[in-house]
């Protein structure tokens, strides 16, 4: 109750200068109440999606991500901490060995306790491999659901509160619209609650960190982001943006060195706490570390719409180069592409620039780094959704293609119905009547562009149908996957280019006094 009141106070600050007389009924009671409503709806949708099959359901011997997560619970629950990452007779690493940082392992342990309480069989050592049951599925689904509700939702609330206290001009309807865009992101819901993963935890921690950065609580931010990094190493996609923004801020303080040291101590301290069980011997430490960097899995997987995979149609990277050189090349490409955005943030750190920076760095990683998975598109999508109100059209465009790029994956998981339903929910919420004021104002794009956009929408919908109905020719069994990839990659590249340009234009427009205000 107290929390709710606090939000109300904040809301009153937000719309002190406006009178929503005939406004939409949902916003009357304040953002807190609207948030509760949307959150309940978002939870309902998540539960409904979770009724559907998970990845690898009834598909022995390897099953899918669901079995991986369940197996980790089994391992963490039954073995001592130091054994978790070590290959042994009790822990066969070739069967879904733990390859996420320790925080994921701890999370698996806690969730394993929950599972063991209700269904002992589902996490017993050895015998539970490939365990599938009504109750088991339900309990596993509920662990994701509770993680989402406990981490991602509060983080979004925190972000919205912070973000809109600094933007006095936004209308309540816009804020509510933005909340619904954040909480009902179809990609995240389908991957976490359909396919089965725990992205909500690492992304939630990241959103919390972003909100903390925006509210100038840099120490909290670095703590939260370190946790995110320790939950999924993929969070490193955001690291350049955090690093450059915080560095840029520190450089503008009276005592830059002290600030940097403070941040560094928080980061190292958090790392030390999370990695504590593995710090007693170098063997353990490097053992875990080697598990986290799976370079043996190759430059890319399946048909991910990034630079390497798309260009591999012309240049067979994997055949032409050794893994070592590919590692180097991909690393260089990643760093080079995210360098401009980092430089901008070091020179002129600003809240908005930081959000664009997050998008740019995660795009660089998605497009150019080593071993990228289709699901990694969730990472660039996150900052894009945080910027949804500023960039509604690019956001919708990106969401459409992100979802599209995961279509083959979701098809394999038999999630076509939730895919369509979630896409429809997203579009409907995007077009909420009276939900967003800027929809009409920004409607001045040229007719050629809109024809182009319409044409691409048409193409992708046709490709959806083709993918579902027509069998690919024997010679090219992955023809349609490749076509989807070819459609999505230019859009992602375009989005990356666009947000880079936006970020640099930002520093051009921003005046000196605005920067002073921010610091």
């Amino acid at each position: 109750m107290g929390k709710k009141k606090e939000e109300k106070v904040r809301d009153d600050k937000v719309d002190v200068d406006r009178d929503d007389g005939a406004s939409w009924w949902l916003v009357q009671k304040g953002i807190g109440a609207s948030f509760i409503c949307i959150a309940l709806f978002a939870l309902l949708v998540r539960v409904a999606v979770s009724l559907h099959p998970y990845s690898g359901a009834g598909n022995p011997p390897k099953f899918g991500d669901y079995e991986a997560q369940r197996h980790w619970m089994e391992i963490t629950l039954n073995l001592p901490v130091t054994e978790w990452y070590r290959n042994s007779t009790t822990n066969d690493l070739s069967y879904w060995g733990l390859d996420y940082p320790p925080l994921t392992a701890y999370q698996s342990y806690v969730h394993g306790l929950f599972l063991r309480f209700f269904d002992l069989e589902s996490v017993s050592l050895f015998s539970s491999r490939g365990y599938e049951s009504y109750l088991g599925k339900l309990l596993m689904r509920w662990t994701v659901l509770s993680s989402d509700a406990l981490i991602f939702f509060p983080a979004v609330l925190y972000f919205v509160c912070v973000y809109y206290t600094s933007h006095n001009s936004s209308r309540r309807n816009d804020i509510v619209w933005h909340i619904s865009m954040l909480l009902l992101n179809p990609c995240l819901i389908l991957i976490d609650h359909g396919h089965f993963q725990y992205n909500c935890i690492s992304l939630g921690l990241t959103v919390g960190a972003i909100a903390a950065v925006l509210s100038q609580k840099d120490l909290v931010a670095s703590f939260l982001f370190t946790l995110a990094l320790n939950h999924k190493q993929m969070s490193a996609y955001f690291a350049p943006a955090f690093f450059s923004h915080l560095l840029g801020k520190c450089l503008r303080c009276k005592n830059p060195l002290l600030e940097v040291i403070k941040l560094g101590l928080v980061v190292i301290g958090t790392f030390a706490v999370v990695w504590w069980p593995y710090l007693h011997s170098a063997d353990d430490f490097f053992g875990v570390l080697s598990r986290l960097a799976p370079f043996d899995r190759g430059l890319y997987e399946d048909y991910v719409a990034n630079f390497w995979c798309t260009t591999s149609i012309l240049i067979k990277w994997k055949r032409l180069f050794t893994v070592q050189s590919l590692k180097l090349v991909s690393f260089t490409a990643t760093v080079l592409t995210c360098l401009p955005s980092m430089v901008q943030q070091v020179l002129a750190p600003s809240g908005k620039g930081f959000l664009y920076g997050l998008m740019n760095s995660s795009f660089s990683f998605y497009l150019f780094s080593f071993q990228v998975h289709e699901k990694s598109i969730l990472l660039p999508l996150l900052p894009a959704s945080l910027l949804a109100l500023e960039e509604p059209r690019p956001f919708r465009w990106l969401t459409h293609h992100a979802l599209f790029s995961m279509f083959p994956l979701l098809c394999r998981d038999k999630l076509i119905l939730p895919y369509m339903a979630m896409y429809a929910v997203f579009t409907l919420l995007y077009l909420t009547p009276g939900g967003r004021s800027r929809l009409k104002k920004t409607d001045h794009s040229s007719s050629i562009a809109s024809i182009m956009i319409g044409f691409l929408y048409l193409c992708s919908s046709i490709l959806h149908i083709v993918y579902l109905t027509i069998r690919p020719p024997e010679k090219f069994p992955y023809l349609f996957e490749a076509m989807i990839m070819l459609m999505c990659f230019p859009q992602f590249a375009l989005c990356a280019f666009y947000s880079n340009a936006k970020q640099w234009l930002l520093s051009k427009h921003s005046t000196v006094d605005k920067e002073k205000k921010l610091i």
Partner: protein, 530 residues
Amino acid sequence: MEDQSAGRRGNLLPQVLWFFFIAACVKLLLVPSYHSTDFEVHRHWLALTHSLPVSDWYLDETSPWTLDYPPFFAYFERFLSIFAHLIDPEIVDIQNGLNYKANSVIYFQRISVILSDLWLLFGVYRLSKKLEVKRRDLMWVLIIWSPGLVIVDHLHFQYNGFLLGWLLLSISFLQEGRDLMGGFVFAVLLCFKHLFAVAAPVYFVYLLRHYCWKGMVRGFSRLSVMGALVAAVFAAAYGPFVYHGQIQQVLRRMFPFGRGLCHAYWAPNFWVFYILLDKELAFFLRKVGFNIQVPSASFTGGLVGDSSPFAVLPQITPVTTFIMVLLALSPCLIKAWRNPRPGMIARWIAYAYTCGFLFGWHVHEKASLHFVIPLAIVAVQSLEDARHYFVLSIVSCYSLFPLLYEAQEYPIKVLLLLLHCALMWIGFSAQYAEDAVARATAPAPAPAKKKVAQSKLKAAASAEGGFVIGWIGKIYLFGLLVVEIWGQFLHPYLLGDKLPFVPLMLMSIYCSLGIMYSWIWQLRWIIKPT
């Protein structure tokens, strides 16, 4: 914002469709969830109407789920079966299709319910198109996003949304003063599902007075027109069966009075108290020393036999319940006779269904939708109505919880109810805070410090006249939470498998308190002199 609301007034259809599609998406996502035996019932009816001639529809006994709805519903199933046959002929195979569980049939039937809800949408649309923006939005939220309908139609599986669409359509015609059409639509509804006949006395009295009571000649001609129309509808429905000489068989199927006073799970109505009183009296008298026999088919055993097994109190027969319903209805009928106003018709119809629910024979808990949905029409009219509706719709939705007893659906039903509460709370607050402000500002417009004054007024309005639930209501709703926590968590934990019927019994008793309150509240509103 003003310009936007003006724009919104202009084009209604996309907006109401927006509400519909949001709901449809959620319903689509719920396709793989649990469905009751009603699913197989309706599948069998598809097969039955598809593969048998009309003359055999009410005779067939291939499956225990014999056709027990009126003919229009059978025709409706026949219509659906055309498409079912196109999609998968196995669905409509009368022998091989029994207990058919393939994806095709699940998707087909689920989507048929979702699409048939378009009829409900049409009813709501007709009812609300003349309302102001806020009341209209609110009504859409209450009806199109009704959690009860989702639970009963899209999880449990039935076609109530479609049937209620006819009812709302009828009410919308009556409210417009087009009595003939209203009566016609209601007759059609009766031929879809006869349980809606409880409101027939209200319709009869209202139409007689409001439509036909216009002098000798004109009145008589109107009466005959109405009569002919209703007769035609019934002829269209029952004609084929009269022709085959099966009308008695049809009626026997439609009115299975052998089923007993209460359903296996007691619907939260008056008879719960009656049973409880009987049990207590029997217990007490036995303590005192009387020799009271324990009836063979106890209510708590789950299955209910033919007769009502009361130990002490007089037995209840269908006739008794019929008379009680009529008695309860009488104040409303008298009012309708004295002053037949179109503005009151929604209340009267809802009241009639409430009476039927409280005192009827073998009432299903699902029947509470019959009055909760029409009451949404009046809930947007005044503050007291909104307060009453808030409590009632929560109780009604909660009383549907036992329909979904599996663990998988537990979060769904809870979230549906919570979301409904939140939406109602926000919607009603917005609506009535605004009303209060409008009332307060109307007499003295102060152009100078208007904004400040208005915000102050707003605060004052929300403090005094806004949407607030009284402390009794709050305690009652809190009790609902206690009952749920007891039934779900504490009871199994503390008592284990002992007394397994207690949680359900508690729910019935507690919810019937709420429904009784609603009945008295509605009755008071109806007999209030106007």
